[in-house]
Symmetry: D2
Subunit: 330 residues, 4 copies
């Protein structure tokens, strides 16, 4: 590379004006092209390319308490528009969707409080969100009954997390629910650590009050095979990561086991690579494993997903236009 | 509180001298008592109290690539001395233990490399560690055979992750293996996201080459009930967290489901609370949920576990003395 | 506080639609009100209140390479509209403004490069920005001449950094320059660590080629007294911080020395409080010093200023409307 | 490079034993060689090489509240042993040294407090340290008198920050003071942002109560020229950075202006490169500017300096032996 090639794209300073749209702002970020602004602009481009690619199966990997914090509708909408073809999540995020589906709420609270005071008041804190105990209890009750019912219906059948989520989704009435939207849009929900959430409590109560040997049986590994099958059927693979952790790893692993690498990767995280954990690992590191293709569109945006993800989605919705509806894959 | 009470403990400046022991350095950190140094000194005190408490069941929750990076022997030793009573881990950390148990290695590499070059060379990168593909393959081969053998032996029995890990541990010859040490010391290993690791690949190959219906069946929820049972049988509960994620959450959840709160919590992480994720949540937040007792000894040390954890262990080993051997719980 | 008061503001999930304006998106962040989204919504409210407050003198404290990275026009515009009444900056940011004022540029580059290769090519790297050596040289040349000229003009007078910046600003032709805009709008520029930048090189060459005793003399402490005087003349004080460091500290210190606390504080940073540094310290900590009033509107947004600051400004410009022009203070 | 070269240094897992010395622990970190442990081991090697290099002038660049937090004695000792040849600091760290030199203290406090309560009690908070207002007042009083005295003595002479610090150091009685130790050991103290600290308040009172034109005059740029002169006289240059900010930049700039690059760089920080600020910039980035030599020993340890710096110093003191005394440079 010669020197001139290194110096051919001057930073164009951002210009702001009143009433600019989100995508117009992102264009200004693209003009500057530096630090986080440059990464975010690239993220929007990758997300746009991913969903405009008719042959790409888009996975959303979800960790962190983003559903309680306010991303529930955005995710449900993405599923309905099929901008997302598969959801891979922590169990907790789905539990919080189900809490709202049963009429529960999450409340704006504060991080600077006496937590023992909250404990006595039966209020659970997630940073600056408060969740009243009774809303958990309400959701538990409904879920335990659903588990009983499903166990009876499917007697002896061994389920994957995805199959179980679909059976739950089909029983939900709340039109805003992610789990219901996924069921209706035929979007699978994989929960690679399902048992690490209130679902475990629900299962324990369900198993104890019925006959243990008739309890719902969820096979740890079944969903892994299902995810690989999805990847195998797909021509191209895209991944959007919020947070990282088990959901990100599960998607990357499915791509590898299907003998394919991901073609697009958009990672939003606050973790950094230097400590060696998966959540902070760069897309480049992922290439060494064969989980991401060398030529893949890829970017890691470092920042709070509650800001970065809605920004990205809003900009891309603007680019796609009002009536855009994706067909979905695979 | 009156003013004098707020001003009664002056920072005593650290004094260093050649040949000081690790614990002598930690005492200097205690003298200063500020920022990270104060937290680390507190961490050593809490870890010491936890293991000197004969009635406390100590959980080690393990996330991040700390086994490949060099903590394998330390963890195996802690298990043998029963300073740890239960291990809750990502699947990957156990896979990396098993890779070394089959003669494989992890190599000191570098983060500033061309990852596609590594890919062509079949070298997988974990930040600045290189893992050759063939060491995965070697471990896979042995594990697939073990899965076949165990499936045959246990035909039709539904296993928990812990039961499976014990069956694997009993087949290992490497005296340095964590999985083998746990088996011998009767320390359970829970893998709440087992399928999110090379174990999934192993299971898929095992299931495909045998008859699918005879494949090993690992119940997602069974280990959750086992963890709750451990917690219920314990008088007191302690938790040491490296990283956070699913393993931390699983321990906290078990404490809650057993209707107990944790009595001790030592958390080493690089994550921060402001983004709302579990890994960065403060011990105080955990109190609001009833997962940690109000009066629990607790601290969160922010830093690289590869530095902080060995420091803490070395200081506590020094305090406990050469011949300390714990009985173990519950 | 009773329980009901803690649970009176449910998180309202964000709703996105194509073509929404930046401020409409911020309203959605306000609806959710959690984690970073809640903080950013608060930041916009505080910024709006600050500039709508006719009696408030607004300081912008600037650290980090935000001028090279693309915020130059935004800052110059804020000065022209007098949404900012005083600029407190690292020397480097002003140097980079002056580089562009002399026709130099900053270029979009990449962080993953061989830095010795860049060195040989005389390209300086700021993360993913490239700055060619010759653009420094060009600016140096002009600045050295200005220093010579000013020294002659002011012979023997002792200058503050602010006086010097104004004398430079009055000599600039580039209408986009921050330094020129500040001069024209009568907005002072304070550089509490001016000598820690290319200005030091400029001064050394200037002093060596002339007679040393006739070199420009900038008094370290003079600008401190000037900043205190500004604070004393102001009815209310507001502070917007990008990054932190010396500029933030200098503003806070001026507020204290003027026996006033700040009335508004909006801090954008990626630093965290636990390590004890000033840049990461919370607005609350600032209250203990009397530098921030107890009742002050305050928020700390954790994130990349290249994203957060333009977002905030764009939302507030929308709220203020096309023709808003502030009178300015004190 | 062939594949074998990439796989020639297996991670050797750390082995801990009771009573191991700090340097023995660091050796274990070196054996593992990964993530933060590897970096810290490298840091010790670089620090050792730097001080064993008889021709190397070692700069310590100091930002963040490490003197109040407990590093005062360590830094004073390093100066006395001449492991450090020049100190470049924020003004605040020197103020806190002077507070203790006048009998004041810093107190172990807590970060989770009501800051307005502290304010009413005249207690200033630095994360979890409390500093009583009266200890500032006591130090101010002495410093104002020193300023008066020095101004009289030096009438009309223009001082650099370093000259002023030496004049203060020669007046101190506390044998533990950094400023006094530096004066005695003939180690310069440069304060590139001196005015951004309590020194500004001291100067303002001093100037107002005397005749303004007779006030002490500190030239902003004079110390820059002095630092360049030190660098020019030195055969080799080393830099140890705690935190970053203006002190790090000032050292790097001096190396550049002396037409030399640094030969050694050990950086301890919690900042990261992605946001483009100087404090988080990698040593590699520094090479592009010519501020660090291509072949320089260099490392960036990410972590709390209150832990990392004492660890490094203790290990190196052990390597150097009890009686090691360096001659000092330049």
């Amino acid at each position: 590379m010669n020197r001139r090639d290194l110096l051919n794209a001057p930073v164009r300073h951002m210009e702001l004006k009143p009433n600019m749209t989100v995508n117009q702002l992102i264009q200004q970020f693209d003009n500057a092209g530096s630090f986080g602004a440059g990464r975010l602009a690239t993220a929007c481009n990758i997300f746009e390319n991913m969903v405009r690619d008719e042959k790409c199966t888009v996975f959303l990997a979800l960790a962190g308490a983003v559903v309680p914090a306010g991303l529930r509708s955005i995710i449900a909408d993405l599923i309905r528009k099929r901008l997302i073809d598969a959801l891979v999540s922590t169990g907790a995020n789905m539990i919080h969707d189900l809490i709202e589906a049963q009429g529960g709420h999450h409340y704006k609270g504060h991080w600077f409080v006496d937590d023992f005071f909250l404990y006595k008041y039966h209020i659970n804190r997630i940073y600056d969100i408060f969740v009243p105990e009774e809303d958990f209890v309400k959701a538990d009750k409904v879920l335990i009954e659903m588990f009983d019912e499903i166990a009876k219906e499917k007697q002896g059948r061994i389920l994957s997390t995805n199959e179980l989520m679909r059976l739950i989704g089909s029983r939900l009435k709340d039109p805003k629910s992610i789990v219901r939207a996924a069921c209706e849009a035929n979007v699978p929900i994989f929960l690679p650590a399902m048992r690490d959430s209130e679902f475990a409590y629900v299962h324990i109560v369900h198993a104890e009050r019925g006959k243990k040997e008739k309890a719902l049986l969820v096979d740890s590994f079944k969903e892994a095979a299902e995810m690989v099958a999805v990847a195998q059927k797909s021509e191209r693979l895209g991944m959007i990561v919020i947070g990282g952790g088990v959901p990100r790893n599960a998607v990357q692993h499915a791509a590898l086991m299907a003998d394919k690498g991901l073609d697009y990767a958009l990672i939003i995280t606050t973790d950094r690579p230097e400590y060696g954990g998966l959540s902070g690992s760069t897309p480049e590191e992922t290439i060494s494993w064969g989980k991401l293709k060398k030529e893949a569109g890829r970017v890691m945006v470092i920042g709070d997903a509650m800001i970065i993800f809605p920004l990205t989605v809003a900009a891309v919705l603007e680019r796609l236009g009002e009536d855009f509806q994706r067909k979905g894959n695979p």
